[in-house]
């Protein structure tokens, strides 16, 4: 009957090996193809050339990465705070939820290509339109995840809490909010991958600085190597943010890692 605490971490590193291998071999194939075919670097630069460009232009790239990070994080933070606050309101007021939800769904149907130039037109070349676009793109997955998560609370747990005399607010704090956390993190991971892309796209449409501007300028001067250098930076940015959410999830949902075999 006694059961020892299972180890929380397993063969984590060993599990990562296939992923590393597949990524490395994809880049290796690309490099080999470029070298063997002798294709012009104006059409398809080799990975080594892209890395070389990152090294050579590191000051320029860094100068443009900072505004992108600022836009992404600010937009994402605003979006998370508003999504969280709104999800609580929607949970306590089902009527408001029914009234507002169609608007949120519609906001997701707007094509970014069309909405981004408009937002830039309305709010200028500064940070504001980028924050707004990042928020627009990341808000909905988080909100839906939270609202669905609240609804997924075990009704038996809620009945138990009510029998103990818990108020609606206590039921929310003790049961509904923690129940929603796994859903929230699923939404968070989706959102974070959209966030950097949205920021770069907003910059591409109109900005003073940012990775989007690097990509735009590189495109206009026929520099695919520099474009790809910016792409690599933006991918790394997303990967880092993704890793941060994964660590955060591990901390908040540590009870799930502790699971037994029942």
């Amino acid at each position: 009957m006694q059961r020892p605490m299972p180890p929380i971490r397993g063969k984590g590193l060993a599990r990562g090996i296939p992923a590393v291998l597949s990524v490395v071999s994809a880049f290796a194939l690309w490099e080999i193809y470029v070298r063997v075919s002798g294709i012009s670097p104006l059409l398809l630069p080799a990975p080594s050339r892209v890395v070389d460009q990152i090294a050579q232009n590191r000051a320029l790239l860094w100068g443009h990465t900072v505004p992108t990070i600022t836009a992404t994080l600010t937009g994402f933070a605003c979006s998370a705070v508003v999504a969280f606050a709104l999800s609580i309101i929607l949970d306590f007021m089902p009527r408001v939820r029914r009234a507002l939800f169609p608007i949120f769904v519609i906001s997701q149907t707007l094509p970014l290509v069309a909405i981004a130039p408009l937002v830039v037109l309305w709010f200028g070349f500064d940070l504001t339109p980028k924050i707004l676009l990042v928020a627009l793109v990341t808000f909905f997955p988080m909100l839906v995840a939270l609202v669905d998560g609240y609804e997924a609370t075990d009704p038996e747990i809620e009945a138990l809490l009510r029998s103990m005399g818990a108020s609606r607010a206590s039921v929310f704090r003790i049961a509904r909010l923690p129940s929603a956390m796994p859903y929230f993190f699923a939404g968070l991971r989706i959102s974070i991958t959209y966030a950097v892309v949205a920021a770069i796209f907003a910059e591409y449409v109109g900005a003073r600085a940012g990775l989007g501007i690097v990509i735009l300028n590189a495109k206009n001067s026929y520099r695919p190597d520099l474009m790809l250098a910016a792409v690599v930076i933006s991918s790394l940015l997303t990967l880092v943010l993704f890793a941060v959410t994964a660590v955060l999830q591990r901390i908040v949902l540590r009870w799930r890692d502790a699971g037994g075999d029942t």
């Binding site: 605490m5 809490l161 029998s163 103990m164 005399g165 003790i174 956390m181 037994g260």
Partner: protein
């Protein structure tokens, strides 16, 4: 004074009549079981007591005064353990105290000494998923009785356990309850469980539920770690026969 008295209570959900003139009573320190076929409305009876629903007719009194005057008469244990998976066992056990407003340290201090009697010593800091089925059930029972409410409501507490664990838990419950003498109302569809644990059994019909039999059991305890007596066997047969005629749907 009678701890709980339910008199002529009726209830319908829309067109479905669930309870029809149900009357039963529980004396202080008594262990009473409600035995009935699945879907008869046994759990609905508990929802009446926890004031989740109100009866269409009839009266419910606790210690002689109407139920509505009592907000802390019952400690309820649902069918599945309903432990919060993100709370450690200790914090699950103190849940009811926390909701009553007991400070956390005080609630924990009250719970800790009870862990060994409930076979949970050393598991205070574990999460529910790390416990066996029987341990989870005991944690849920501890969470129920620690609230020190006058009456314990147990809704098929062992229904989800495997047969062997269920028998162990019944023996354990018998011993524990004999010591503490908690006033208890148990819902079950397990005839043997009802006969072994109860001072009194009410048998409900299939829906709409009525009380079709009331049996007082005086066999001395403990009953479970000795061979089944002839009278107990006869009683089990009688109850089974009654119940089997009720599963007409």
């Amino acid at each position: 004074m009678t701890a709980l008295c339910i008199k002529n209570v009726g209830l319908s959900f829309g067109a479905t009549e669930v309870l029809r003139s149900v009357s039963l009573q529980v004396e202080p320190g008594e262990f009473v079981s409600i035995l009935g076929p699945s879907g008869a409305g046994k759990s609905t009876l508990f929802r009446l007591l926890t004031q989740d629903v109100t009866p269409a007719c009839g009266t419910i009194t606790v210690d002689g005064t109407p139920l509505s005057a009592h907000s802390r008469a019952f400690a309820f244990m649902p069918q599945r353990d309903a432990l919060l998976p993100w709370r450690r066992v200790l914090d699950n056990v103190t849940l009811g105290l926390e909701i009553q407003g007991t400070p956390r340290s005080e609630a924990r201090a009250k719970a800790r000494p009870l862990f060994s009697a409930f076979g949970l010593a050393g598991f205070e800091r574990h999460y529910p998923a790390q416990l066996s089925g029987g341990m989870r059930q005991r944690a849920a029972l501890l969470r129920t009785v620690i609230q020190q409410r006058p009456i314990q409501l147990l809704d098929e507490p062992f229904g989800a356990l495997d047969a062997l664990t269920r028998m162990q838990m019944q023996r354990w419950l018998e011993a524990r309850w004999q010591e503490a003498n908690w006033t208890t109302l148990l819902i079950t569809h397990d005839v043997r469980e009802a006969v072994a644990l109860s001072d009194r059994i009410y048998v409900l019909s299939s829906r709409p539920a009525r009380v079709i039999d009331e049996i007082v059991i005086t066999t001395p305890r403990p009953r479970l770690d000795r061979p089944l007596t002839d009278s107990a066997r006869a009683l089990e047969d009688r109850l089974l026969t009654t119940l089997l005629t009720q599963t007409g749907d």
